[in-house]
């Protein structure tokens, strides 16, 4: 195993000092001189026709500078190319509670809020549909006229012949599962400041979106402003977890308001608005049917996947397309049938949350297989080992697993947790459960290109320019460490831009689908190698050798095998200048992996250059009087390819497990009959508090991916997925109650116990 100077060190994140001193400025802290404060008027109904809007009184309120509705600007539909279905402001119809109908900019928030009350809107209520299976019935209210049975998108992936395979199976099991929407609920609410200059037609947008370059492209179309005149500025993000990726709901109203009055407009959501309006992982209903041989060999896997996309498709289609490949990323099975439907209802549109809809699919699949193994009298771990994918596998969706540590992870996790000793031997009300997950570490959508620059000044200071988003997961630190290793320098010698400004920062689609480590890491390495190449040319001349005989390390450049023949990095930079090159020393780099787009009809395609895996085992205690579940411990083994920074990775693991516990036991977004979100504060939506802090052990399996920087691959999503099912499986192990819809609330546990005792 190669020895590295920087890679593998547990250093604090490079932006940590600014966070612990309170100096870091999120967009919520930005003040643009003269900025107004905006509020958005949302529909009080989940489904209604807009008959009339009268904004006169609001416009006349002293202190109001602009009021905007759909009438003020051409409303351009946006969404999935070819399936655009959404507008910035509703025109004739609202399709969810809180849908934007108007917006106000005023001298302060209080005035803006008062103005909202003065906007007179007449609605004609329409019948509401909230449940995905209700929405598919022919008599259901139509959310969109064009969508028969409210089906907005579908995908069908059929490999082999499942019907025949079921006939040949020794055993078949079927189950239905359901997961509601859960939120990232990060502490920083969404905020945007839009600053439009009507003279130059220039729009500057200060945002907290993790995809500013992509946001720019989308906004240009929707606002009718040339891309050349749009500038997006994005500082450190106050937590995203997928909720802050390419979502326009705050920046669009701010932008239109600014265009109306020619002044900067800031909109920041209140916490209540965050709960009502955040787009996150969609509610999903899954039907599983699996056929096996009596020794546990998988013969046929079938899934019917009903995604509740809410009022607009938004990220719904992407989520289900990715789930096609997720379905059999862990297992070898010759016959696979996946039918995914994306369905309109009068609820919040689909977004993403750490793992996108893999979270939903995983819960159902991992519980289903746990039960299947039990029916066969098999240890579920043995069942997994029997069917697990290995390095070199190509899945039915054509996902290429050039690294795969599933088996190693299973072995490490079962050993560390004492699985064999505990399984079936724990005292009553205690249980142990197992679950596995696999997910992408990249995402082709047209391209998966990342670019970067590495600049070196005359003092030898190295600056990395990367559009990566730091939302707490440490991408900037990962990139800094990679560049330091490559150039033979210390992390302290490198700085990286804190703010991404689309004017200065080269193309970067952003942080989603765990693409950061491979795509952004490799782009930065490519730029660092460009710098190295330029320096090596002049140093080779000085040392009387050729560039390929040189190596960088220990802040020096030296001849391989003869480290005494060297120049310091700083001397090399001086040499570069003195050799007549006055050009700034800049390395340019990019990385676009050789992957495929997902097929829109089948979801097939190797859309990520690598895939990460996570195996988790949870031990729980159930209080049968109160129904309360306590997670005693989680053992996790994650295949991350290579550990670049164990301090960051362990922090990610602990936080992910906490989030998965929340999903398992406390968190859901639910609606009243009229379609109003019921959870509107941290008191209602129960995030784990410090009292739910759970002991965990994390083992990192290094499968050394051939494509990733130093063998690493992105894993911040996959590690946040399986604990939920592991907990549900542990609860079943403890008390024999199977709950098929998260969260596993106490009343569900008690209800399950009552039903079980009745039987």
């Amino acid at each position: 195993m190669k020895e590295y100077s920087v890679i593998g060190r547990p250093i604090p994140q490079v932006d940590s000092v600014s966070k612990i001193t309170g100096r870091v400025k999120y967009v919520n802290d930005f003040v643009i001189p003269g900025m107004l404060h905006g509020k958005i008027l949302g529909s009080p109904y989940a489904h209604a026709r807009i008959m009339r809007i009268d904004t006169t009184k609001a416009e006349q309120l002293p202190g109001v500078r602009a009021v905007v509705t759909a009438r003020d600007f051409p409303m351009v539909k946006f969404g999935i190319p070819g399936l655009e279905d959404e507008l910035a402001f509703a025109t004739d119809k609202v399709r969810r509670y809180g849908e934007a109908v108007a917006a106000v900019a005023a001298i302060d928030e209080a005035t803006a809020e008062e103005a909202l009350d003065l906007i007179d809107v007449e609605y004609k209520e329409l019948p509401v549909v909230l449940d995905v299976e209700e929405a598919m019935k022919p008599e259901a209210p139509k959310v969109h006229e064009h969508a028969k049975n409210n089906i907005g998108f579908e995908v069908h992936h059929h490999i082999g012949n499942v019907e025949q395979a079921f006939k040949e199976s020794d055993y078949i099991r079927e189950d239905r599962f359901e997961t509601p929407m859960a939120l990232g609920a990060s502490l920083g609410p969404r905020c945007s400041i839009a600053d439009y200059d009507p003279i130059s037609n220039q729009m500057t947008l200060y945002t907290d979106d993790v995809r500013p370059h992509l946001q720019l492209l989308g906004l240009a179309r929707i606002l009718g402003i040339s891309e050349k005149k749009l500038r997006v500025i994005r500082p450190i993000v106050a937590g995203s977890f997928g909720n802050k990726g390419l979502i326009y709901e705050v920046c669009l109203p701010a932008a239109f308001l600014s265009m109306k009055c020619g002044q900067p407009v800031r909109i920041e959501r209140t916490r209540e608005e965050e709960f009502v309006h955040t787009r996150s992982v969609q509610p999903v209903v899954t039907y599983f049917k699996t056929g096996v041989k009596k020794d546990g060999t998988l013969v046929a896997m079938e899934c019917r996947h009903l995604g509740n996309s809410g009022a607009y498709l938004a990220m719904g289609p992407r989520a289900v397309l990715i789930n096609v490949g997720v379905f059999d990323v862990l297992f070898r099975c010759p016959n696979v049938k996946f039918d995914g439907y994306v369905i309109y209802t009068n609820t919040i549109p689909c977004g993403a949350l750490r793992g996108i809809s893999n979270r939903a699919l995983n819960f159902g699949q991992q519980c289903h297989l746990d039960m299947l193994a039990r029916d066969l009298g098999m240890d579920v771990v043995d069942f997994f080992l029997k069917n697990a994918r290995q390095k070199g596998d190509i899945t039915s969706a054509r996902w290429k697993l050039d690294s795969c540590g599933i088996k190693e992870c299973i072995q490490e996790a079962t050993k560390a947790s004492g699985w064999k000793e505990k399984r079936g031997r724990l005292p009553a009300t205690r249980g142990i459960g197992f679950a596995a997950a696999g997910h992408c570490a990249g995402s082709r959508y047209g391209s998966d290109l990342s670019t970067a620059l590495v600049e070196v000044d005359d003092l030898g200071s190295v600056r990395v320019i990367s559009g990566r988003a730091d939302a707490g997961q440490g991408s900037g630190t990962m990139i800094t460490m990679c560049v330091a290793e490559e150039l033979g320098l210390d992390v302290e010698d490198i700085t990286i831009n804190e703010i991404t400004d689309t004017w200065f920062v080269p193309w970067e689609p952003g942080n989603y689908a765990s693409r950061g480590t491979i795509q952004q890491g490799n782009a930065a390495l490519s730029a660092a190698r460009d710098v190295k190449h330029q320096l090596f040319k002049v140093v080779a001349k000085k040392l009387g050798t050729t560039p390929n005989q040189l190596e960088a390390g220990n802040k020096h450049i030296f001849i391989k095998g003869s480290p005494d023949k060297n120049v310091s990095f700083l001397s090399a930079v001086k040499e570069y200048r003195d050799s007549g090159k006055q050009m700034p020393l800049v390395g340019r780099g990019y990385y676009d992996p050789p992957t495929e787009d997902l097929d829109r009809n089948t979801g097939e395609g190797n859309f990520s250059i690598a895939y990460g895996f996570s195996i988790q085992i949870a031990e729980v205690e159930v209080d049968i009087e109160t129904g309360k579940v306590t997670v005693l411990k989680v053992i996790a083994a994650h295949d991350c390819g290579k550990v670049i920074n164990p301090l960051i990775l362990n922090g990610q693991s602990e936080g992910s497990i906490s989030m998965a516990i929340g999903t398992a036991l406390f968190e859901e977004i639910s609606y009243s009959e009229e379609g109003k979100v019921l959870q509107t504060s941290y008191a209602d939506y129960r995030l784990p508090s410090v009292w739910q802090e759970t002991e965990s052990d994390t083992i990192w399996v290094e499968s050394i991916d051939p494509h990733g920087p130093y063998g690493a691959k992105g894993i911040t999503e996959v590690i946040a997925i399986p604990a939920t099912a592991a907990i549900a499986n542990a609860v079943y192990d403890a008390i024999g109650v199977r709950i098929k819809k998260t969260p596993l609330l106490p009343w569900k546990i008690l209800h399950g116990l009552k039903e079980k005792n009745r039987v």
């Binding site: 990060s186 450190i236 106050a238 301090l647 936080g655 906490s658």
Partner: protein
């Protein structure tokens, strides 16, 4: 008809991080808004504005309080510590140093609130038990860390040798 107009603004005095301020505030304004908008001390964050997340925590007269729930006028004459007041000269406070070394800050939004809740605890009780540590920070929410590294950081400063 007589219209009673209530005073909407008042002048108050605050000592923040040892510095004296005279500010004119609205009577309905929270201390959080005054700190952030008038004094430019943006370390205290608006996470929920209803006292449920702890991101706005500051220390008043030695007690950790939710500044979003404090009417600025009631803080008149008080001595307030915010995150900006912790580092002395060029040196980090031991809690800040510990948060750094234990990786207890990820996105950083909750961090000032946690550090101040911990400081209020340790200033009063230098050797708290794990239970006491948790009680002191139970009003601070974190979504990134799962709390483990935060507790470890505070425990390290408290000098407790007790392992979980």
């Amino acid at each position: 008809m007589m219209v009673i107009k209530l005073a909407t603004k008042e002048q108050i005095e605050l000592t923040v991080n040892g510095q004296f301020y005279e500010v004119v505030v609205k009577t309905t304004e929270s201390l959080l808004d005054v700190l952030r908008n008038q004094l430019g001390l943006t370390g205290a964050k608006k996470g929920c504005n209803v006292g449920e997340c702890g991101a706005c925590t500051v220390i008043i007269d030695g007690m950790a309080v939710r500044s979003c729930l404090v009417l600025a006028v009631t803080a008149n004459g008080k001595s307030i510590t915010t995150i900006e007041g912790l580092a002395e000269g060029g040196d980090l406070h031991p809690l800040q140093e510990a948060f750094l070394q234990y990786g207890a800050t990820q996105c950083g939004f909750c961090t000032p609130g946690f550090i101040l809740s911990a400081k209020a605890l340790l200033d009063e009780n230098p050797s708290p038990s794990d239970e006491e540590i948790k009680r002191a920070i139970e009003g601070n929410l974190c979504r990134c860390t799962g709390y483990t590294s935060i507790i470890e950081a505070i425990r390290a400063v408290a000098g407790s040798s007790k392992k979980k």
